[in-house]
């Protein structure tokens, strides 16, 4: 199967995102693949379209700037460097819970108290998984919250676009 898409790896990485409390294996990020994240981004854009928000350009712009920012930050904070593809891949995979949030926004409006709590929970979930994968792949210690905070900011912007 020479498509270059390794389905087993994609499934493994998706499972890592979906079980935020399970410890991640550091070697899964050795192969950078952008197939999974592309699918998730498109799904996110599709759910936004369903909710009537035609702001796809902003999603692209913000994700590009956010990936660039995380790339610079992680290169400065870790002992070993990262490649841009790796950062984009991890951030794209952890966008999966955000798709759940935006599909909720299609049906219910998220501007009540329940919506705010749900949004906060989902942002926490996304950033926790992303920081967990980064920490295990880059062997950074004692910095998980520090990595989770910028991820939370990035996913918070996505959530803002979903809500408003």
């Amino acid at each position: 199967l020479e498509l270059g898409i390794n389905f087993d790896h994609i499934w493994q990485k998706t499972l890592t995102v979906l079980h935020p409390l399970k410890v991640a294996d550091g070697s899964i990020m050795n192969e950078t693949d952008l197939a999974g994240p592309m699918v998730f981004c498109l799904a996110f854009g599709a759910t936004l379209l369903l909710a009537g928000k035609i702001q796809f350009g902003y999603v692209y712009g913000i994700s590009a700037i956010g990936c660039l920012g995380m790339f610079c930050l992680l290169n400065l904070m870790s002992m070993t460097g990262v490649s841009f593809g790796c950062v984009a891949s991890v951030l794209g995979y952890c966008l999966l819970p955000m798709i759940l949030l935006s599909s909720f926004a299609v049906i219910f409006s998220l501007q009540g108290m329940v919506g705010i709590i749900l949004t906060a929970g989902i942002i926490g979930w996304c950033s926790f998984s992303a920081s967990k994968i980064f920490i295990s792949a880059l062997a950074m210690e004692g910095q998980q919250l520090l990595v989770a905070y910028p991820c939370a900011l990035l996913y918070g912007v996505f959530a803002l676009i979903s809500i408003f």
Partner: protein, 309 residues
């Protein structure tokens, strides 16, 4: 040379960004270097061999041309990959000239404990006794190990959070639109640059010999964004009263913090130990420190009052 050629050609499963495009020069170049009688045949063989990259000579006609084509195409591939590596090195070297990456890395060597304690210090600097930065053989210790060392993680995160919170605050007044974020970001960045330049100019005019680098200064000036965020958030939750209370508290805290930190850096060593030294020079330096510290609350108010209505 051969392993490099094999490695470059033998990874079809990597995404296209990783693969070095050397198949083109592999096919075109070696055939122009050789005034070969069997050029048509060797071109055919070269096209077959270059993607495969195996390097076995053709068994049939014109073994000479095929034998020459294979190592040359491998060499061309290796040359192409080394050219790409050289280009990357050039970019890295030039980036290093404009942005001092290793110096920046020092400011980001933080961990969660340091960030927690530093945030506590920014909001409540009154009980902290020892403000001196520890040194280790002439170089300052990394922020991980010394709470007094400046870092750039907190100012950077605080700046970005401030832009987002400002966008949120403006959004709750009108409608939220993502261009607001860009506008806020560029105006805040402009104010920061102006402030850094003004302080550098005044330090130059007063001819102070300090070890206060520009990055240190950016770090210290960035700490006020933490207070600004606190004020705006309280203003969003509790209205104007909450905003003024928290902003007032943060203004006083950052004033004390800046005075105590800058005193050690700008003033002469004798004065830093608490002994008041007379003399025009030291007085000028003290006025400069007070001016820098007083500018912080003013800027904090100026940049946030339009966000809380």
């Amino acid at each position: 040379m051969h392993p490099a050629g094999l490695a470059a050609a033998g990874t079809p499963r990597q995404p296209s960004k990783r693969r070095i495009p050397v198949s083109q020069p592999g096919m075109a170049d070696p055939h122009q270097l050789f005034d070969d009688t069997s050029s048509a045949q060797s071109r055919g063989y070269g096209a077959q061999r270059a993607p495969g990259g195996l390097g076995y000579p053709a068994p049939s006609a014109s073994p000479q041309a095929a034998f020459l084509a294979d190592p040359v195409s491998n060499m061309a591939m290796a040359y192409g990959s080394s050219l790409a590596a050289q280009g990357k090195e050039l970019v890295d070297k030039n980036i290093d000239r404009f942005i001092p990456v290793t110096k920046l890395k020092y400011y980001f060597a933080v961990d969660t404990m340091y960030v927690g304690k530093k945030l506590g210090l920014l909001f409540f600097p009154y009980l902290h006794q020892d403000w001196e930065v520890q040194y280790q053989q002439d170089t300052p210790v990394a922020p991980r190990f010394d709470i007094n060392a400046p870092d750039l993680y907190i100012p950077a995160m605080a700046f970005i959070t401030y832009v987002l919170v400002a966008g949120l605050a403006l959004g709750t007044q009108d409608r939220f639109s993502p261009d607001l974020l860009g506008l806020q970001a560029s105006s805040a960045l402009a104010w920061l640059t102006l402030e850094v330049l003004a302080i550098l100019l005044s330090l130059y005019l007063v001819t102070v010999n300090t070890d206060l680098t520009t990055l240190d200064l950016v770090a210290f000036l960035g700490y006020k964004y933490v207070g600004m965020i606190g004020g705006v958030l309280m203003g969003l939750l509790f209205g104007k009263i909450g905003y003024y209370l928290v902003l007032g508290w943060c203004c006083v805290s950052i004033f004390v913090f800046m005075i105590r930190t800058l005193r050690l850096k700008i003033l002469a060593e004798a004065a830093a130990e608490g002994v008041p030294v007379r003399g025009a020079r030291n007085q000028l330096r003290m006025y400069l420190t007070m001016a820098v510290a007083a500018a912080q609350p003013l800027l904090m108010y100026w940049l946030t009052f339009h966000l809380v209505r």
